[in-house]
Symmetry: C2
């Protein structure tokens, strides 16, 4: 997995073949295929953001969301992540299958995100708002800011996203 | 451009070569290169959502946003759009250059989106909220719903996105 990350970051998605990764890892390709059914699944695991060690939420929504956003964004925009995240989404559209994106992209983060909202309490977060839908808006915001660059980016775009999300979940 | 859309929808991004598109269009490849500097630029134009004919906003924010979201989502998720949008984002990360995404992905839609928010008036939309940042959240939401499918999608996810965006822009 570490070798896959290195190769992705150095030569990109197209060059991150099982052959190239097995050479880097100094294992035979057959050893890789015993554990992963395909190159796609190995790459998914290599760029799956690991469950972060965020520590418990403080209960201050703006602060906790900002920390969550920063850590999640950094996990998706490592050199390997930049090479692989949009390429995996394109590969699915081209009919290549891997694990569901649920597994590698959201699974370990959603519970932490729910904790952030829950810890902020009802004065900051309307309990009727679906935290998973808010999480997906944050994920979309990170994808757009990382992979669909603007001509004139807003200063501190991530901070402003957090501000907008706080508005969105506030009780009315 | 129409030939590029057809080929993209039928054989995907990798197969949508200048050769394949020129054969479909029954023009020589040289004629394509006179107008587009690269395959990437031709594909960008082929999937650039055309400025929509939405008609003027009604001033009912939820209704106007729902219409905008629906038309924008459909424009990005045609067969050609599905094949090309994530693949173009991946191609940029792989060092292939085209026009800025600003030009083909946002340019013709942002003014219409600003109109939607402006028409709703200050009782529904806080004038201090940056409409371009809200637009990017909507774009991110469409990308996530279209290209990062969930295991258990929420019923009427687009409608709920619109509801969340209305909450976000509401005056506090």
């Amino acid at each position: 997995v570490a070798a896959a990350r290195e190769v992705l970051g150095e030569v990109g998605f197209a060059g991150a073949t099982i052959q190239a990764i097995s050479e880097r890892a100094e294992v035979p390709a057959s050893a890789i295929y015993r554990r992963w059914r395909s190159r796609i699944e190995l790459i998914e695991e290599a760029v799956a953001p690991a469950p972060p060690r965020l520590g418990p939420p403080t209960g201050d929504l703006a602060r906790d969301l900002a920390r969550f956003e920063r850590v999640f964004r950094r996990a998706l925009t490592t050199p390997a992540g930049r090479a692989a995240v949009p390429a995996l989404l394109a590969a699915y559209q081209a009919g290549q299958t891997g694990r569901p994106p649920e597994a590698w992209l959201r699974g370990s983060w959603r519970p932490l995100f729910r904790d952030v909202l829950r810890s902020a309490g009802p004065s900051a977060v309307d309990v009727t708002v679906d935290p998973d839908a808010v999480f997906d808006l944050l994920l979309g915001s990170i994808l757009v800011q990382a992979f669909v660059p603007t001509a004139a980016p807003r200063p501190n775009a991530p901070g402003y996203t957090v501000e907008l999300l706080c508005r969105m979940v506030a009780p009315r």
